[in-house]
Symmetry: C2
Subunit: 396 residues, 2 copies
């Protein structure tokens, strides 16, 4: 037992989506949220605002409060990755999806192509489709022990109107942390074809031991000048409802070009709660995250052992980052999507593989950021469902 595990009764007592979207007999394992108590510095920061009734026009560090998110970002990038960034090149926004729409609108035209490694987080497709851009899918290859970028296919898919790479690193849902060699190869392609790179690095502080996150914008000045990094404390520190994220531009020129089409004020601004919670997370909550990450790594390894032992027909590559397992259920030879099978038969509510890529209905994404006992209950239910199915097939 740790200090941050939360029990099911408490989890069900709250009003957020994760524990309320499915019926009460279902254990949810879908949306990227952790069943853990908040870090103390974050709780204190939020409570102070309500205790002090300090919800007026906010100032921080002697200026517009949202600018303080930029300085906190720069401190964070330096301390985690040794990356020097300029807080003035940061644009705080309310959420990360906004942060994917905005660069697409700023740096491409309708009909332009946008590269995306697939399977991918559904809002990336939404952005590309809503904005009438062309998806240039670059399917990840299922390798021996990890998913890998198919560089030959990538090069072949780029046309004269392919303007942008939408990179997600660490990758969601596969959990890949791309190596320096892989990132540099993407960079070479981006330079050769004059493409902008939008690098979603929201999972970059959820990297398991043995892997290293390298910010794409830090690879070289040439690449930095064409890279927009988007990130947020909301995923790793479990505060998505506070709505605060950042876009970082590699150069002033890139930021100016962005604002020519996307005026700063069309983006709105994060609330003071989002601002203070983000700063408390990045500046003061790393000890909490260290503990949480150790727990997540142990959960990941436990899940791998149990899937191997108790879920015949299901496999997954251990994610190198994130608290998501991208379960390959094709060995079960189901006649329905895997997510639907486990929801109906095991009352475990994962994310449907087909929402990440229509070709992946035999996959489901399992969120293992929960207490070990709840995780075991999920695996028990899934194992029982698979065993029942095996018996009924044998009897048929």
């Amino acid at each position: 037992m740790t200090g941050f595990e939360l029990d099911e009764k408490f989890l069900r007592s709250r009003r957020h989506a994760k524990w309320n979207m499915y019926k009460p007999d279902v254990i949810p394992a879908w949306v990227a949220e952790m069943d853990f108590a908040l870090a103390d510095p974050i709780r204190k920061a939020v409570a102070a605002l309500s205790d002090q009734m300090d919800l007026g026009y906010p100032l921080r560090e002697g200026g517009v409060a949202e600018n303080a998110v930029g300085t906190a970002f720069s401190r964070r990038m330096k301390s985690l990755f040794g990356w020097d960034t300029d807080p003035k090149l940061v644009q705080p926004v309310a959420d990360l999806v906004q942060g994917t729409f905005a660069p697409i609108m700023a740096f491409s035209e309708k009909g332009d192509g946008i590269v995306l490694q697939t399977p991918a987080y559904p809002p990336f497709y939404e952005a590309i489709n809503t904005l009438a851009r062309q998806l240039v899918a670059n399917p990840l290859r299922d390798g021996a022990d990890r998913y890998e970028i198919d560089f030959d296919a990538l090069e072949a898919s780029i046309g004269p109107r392919t303007r942008m790479v939408m990179l997600c690193n660490p990758q969601n849902p596969t959990g890949r942390v791309f190596s320096r060699a892989e990132l540099e190869r993407i960079g070479k392609i981006a330079l050769a074809h004059d493409m902008i790179v939008v690098s979603d690095e929201i999972h970059s502080d959820l990297v398991h031991p043995g892997h290293e996150h390298i910010p794409f914008g830090s690879l070289s000045p040439e690449l930095g000048a064409r890279t927009i990094t988007i990130t947020s404390a909301t995923k790793s520190f479990n505060i998505p409802g506070t709505r605060c994220a950042v876009l970082h531009f590699g150069t002033q020129e890139l930021k100016d070009k962005f604002h020519e089409r996307i005026p700063r004020r069309i983006l709105g601004a994060p609330s003071i709660v989002g601002i203070d919670a983000t700063i408390a997370a990045w500046d003061d909550s790393q000890p909490w995250l260290d503990e949480v990450l150790a727990y997540l790594t142990a959960n990941r390894d436990h899940l791998a052992r149990r899937v191997a032992a108790d879920l015949p027909g299901v496999t997954f590559h251990k994610p190198e980052a994130t608290y998501m397992a991208w379960l390959n259920c094709s060995g079960l030879k189901l006649d329905k999507p895997a997510q639907q099978f486990f929801l109906e038969e095991a009352k475990v509510g994962m994310s449907a593989g087909e929402t990440f890529d229509p070709a992946y209905a035999h996959h489901a994404r399992l969120n293992f950021a929960t207490s070990r006992s709840i995780l075991d209950e999920m695996i028990d239910r899934m194992a029982a469902a698979v065993a029942r199915r095996g018996r009924s097939e044998a009897a048929a």
Copy 2:
């Protein structure tokens, strides 16, 4: 003494802009924020989020949380103004300035004209200028006991590219609550010239006795179909730091047309704190606002008596709404802007008239939403500064 007055020591202990922008020897009377305690329902709603650590992906009323702001808006419009609105035609956003930029970008092109009654809230100018639209200024006339719209000048100023009226009602900084006859006349002009009306009604629940706010979008179905109403609980309920506002479109067609250019997700989303605070304000905090408004009306009348008695050379029309007095200091014949004079000589920090209109440097906007004792201290300081100046001029 009421339950919501806050003393200077507490006000200075917080981190918001109002009491921290000027030096500590200055009493601030600028930004539109009240020196009053929050309504209990709002405090409880915010505290519950932090107590429960309920900052995950939020659900309210069984769906995406921000939609609940739309239903709260509709309940509010019905209860305050008898106006029937459709929650589905509401787009929640993070702040009202975003809500002025977005319709301009959606419904006009660069170079198009936008009518604005002046003097006006500075961000309206910022929106028109940043977006390279043309300001079609419609200066308010200083009438016998109120500012009035110059309709002849308005008609004369409209050209073929005048696409939009940016209406602020109740008007900031003059405090006018436009009458039905005035609004209908604006409506007739909008129809005749096929203009969209963006109606900023953020002060509509801060109307003093004897005046009535009429939502522009409620005038007629024809006008509703070309009206975007923007409002928020942040001004009246003193929670601007929570960042939540709404755009209401008169018809689905108007909303669809808006989203053709401004995809919903480029706007971001309000935080759960902004959402819950707004709902608590609109649904449950009217008793608090009733008391506050009575206090504000009394402060307004007290200010009028004291200005007449103690500030020779200063006049103002009693605002019909808002907690702002638009002080005309031209009788002082100052050789510097009025705001600067009172800041330097009285240590009272008002908003500078020239930021609302370059022609109004002899005006200053005084925020009287503070305890009576602080208000009196401000007037005492201002009266002493005027008296000192009178003596030194007499001696010269």
